[in-house]
């Protein structure tokens, strides 16, 4: 059954053991826990929006943690390589940069409005089926499924 996801915070709470889980995962891989990584992980765990690099830099500054662009990119690449975050472009509805979110246990669809830019998340069992089909038909060992849908939201349609 298809179900629209709750807001992003609830979703995190439901699929993660709470704050600190990511830190433990990193430690388990022999990676060092710096102030910069700590705050980036916390942002990912608590974010109510999709994070992009400028946003991350601003948040860190606001929290009093000094962090450089290069560190953000290096850390995100690290987390990607370890399969902890997914990179999205949200259909480039604005700009050509990327957005980042924790890799949740359940895949979900991102649905973006081409007029107002609003992004919805949707959970559906079709993605699991899709993953299984791809794996079976191609023989690939699938590690991630990314689905982004563009359209016009109801509010914009009536304008």
């Amino acid at each position: 059954m298809l179900q629209q996801s709750r807001n992003k915070e609830d979703a995190k709470a439901a699929t993660h053991g709470g704050p600190g889980v990511l830190e433990k995962k990193l430690a388990g891989k022999g990676l060092r826990l710096t102030a910069q990584r700590r705050i980036l992980l916390r942002m990912l765990e608590t974010a109510s929006t999709h994070l992009d690099v400028p946003h991350i830099l601003k948040e860190a500054r606001r929290a009093g943690v000094r962090m450089d662009r290069a560190t953000v990119y290096r850390t995100l690449n690290l987390l990607k390589r370890h399969g902890l975050v997914d990179e999205l472009d949200l259909l480039h509805l604005e700009g050509t940069g990327h957005y980042y979110e924790l890799r949740e246990s359940g895949d979900h669809v991102h649905v973006g409005c081409t007029r107002c830019g609003r992004i919805l998340e949707l959970e559906t069992s079709l993605l699991e089926k899709l993953r299984a089909q791809v794996q079976r038909k191609t023989g690939y060992d699938v590690s991630s499924v990314r689905t982004e849908v563009a359209g016009v939201c109801p509010a914009c349609r009536t304008k």
Copy 2:
């Protein structure tokens, strides 16, 4: 039933009326047909790989058509706005640029190998179902569905 797509040329032949169709579509929208647009359209119609901007520039030069980067980007944006091409990033397996392909009548999944970079295309009726579900549950008027899957291909897995 899931079916792996034939090669890209066959797919084009199956879903388009042959060369010139795109030109007619553009003319129908009151857009001008220049040498630059003509060759870009032809590349899109006949491409055996996914096209990126450097590739397009090189091909045009090779065909003796003078074309600037700016023109390529402007034309691709035009075609995107008119719903004639889709923009992909193929999971950024190499570089951070984008790839372009004609919007086919049937959606398909792009499956990329994170080790060797090979991209497969796969057709599946699950995408139509997904489109319908998204539309029904969100109320969005869906214009495009983009699915990119990352994994390790069988050849790389045995290495």
